[in-house]
Symmetry: C2
């Protein structure tokens, strides 16, 4: 069975993957030029700032970031050393632990956000018309839901 | 000046960035399960297999992959140790060097490709209708051209 893609779909895939990698590199370069944060640091700060109590269990954070446990431990340790996050035991569950946003972390996010969003606008969003914006939202929201469900199922059943 | 995004555009950006990172992690997990290759290895093999004489100058390869010179040197060294690529001096330019696809590299690519493309179909492409495929091609081809031009200009003029 050949699992090839039609020429139209192969062209879409190549354009999407190559441009996305180029875009993420550009956004990360811009972010590092304007702040002390990597893309992963920024993403962690955003997720914690939006969470109730500005804290998330490590397992939940790993799942949201699609990081392995060891990669997340490393990521959070480097952020902890810079004072951007703290790590605390979960109330009522001494085995679990949570990452908690610090004031330093919140200030770093607030300082970096305008630069980062300007870069997102400049390199991506200002180039799109409303129909294209709607198409991206529709495609990637649907796909994200499906990928999360598949991953949760495979983690639970270990069938994959 | 606030460089914020409209709620519609912020929703599109978040769906795109979060789902893309999730998708790339899933595709890399699938690739590693079916082969000895990382996503970066695979991408290098594809670019070399498509180049005239199955070889590319290191600078050109770095630019196509959007890798820094040091990251590319590391990437190519690890592939060289596994026999997937060779490194040779450029004919007529002793200072330059090229990465060259080996037979082992080509066989590894041919063996991995059907699994990788099946995974791209399963996780992304089979979920899209033709209008969505056309939208992705249009948006990411246009954006890729713009990002390459901006990067080339900034590398040349060093104004960024």
């Amino acid at each position: 069975m050949t699992e090839s893609l039609s020429p139209e779909r192969m062209a879409a895939w190549r354009a999407y993957i190559e441009t996305s990698q180029r875009l993420f590199t550009q956004l990360e370069d811009d972010l590092r030029a304007a702040s002390e944060l990597s893309f992963a640091d920024y993403h962690v700060l955003v997720l914690l700032s939006e969470a109730p109590g500005q804290r998330l269990r490590m397992g939940e954070l790993a799942s949201r970031l699609v990081f392995s446990p060891s990669r997340l431990t490393y990521q959070i340790s480097t952020m902890q050393r810079r004072g951007l996050v703290a790590r605390e035991s979960c109330p009522g569950d001494r085995r679990g632990s949570e990452a908690v946003l610090t004031a330093t972390g919140l200030l770093a996010l607030r300082e970096a956000a305008p630069h980062h969003l300007a870069s997102v606008r400049h390199h991506l969003m200002d180039d799109l018309d409303d129909a294209e914006v709607a198409c991206l939202t529709r495609v990637f929201t649907r796909l994200g839901t499906r990928l999360r469900a598949a991953r949760d199922a495979s983690t639970t059943s270990r069938q994959e």
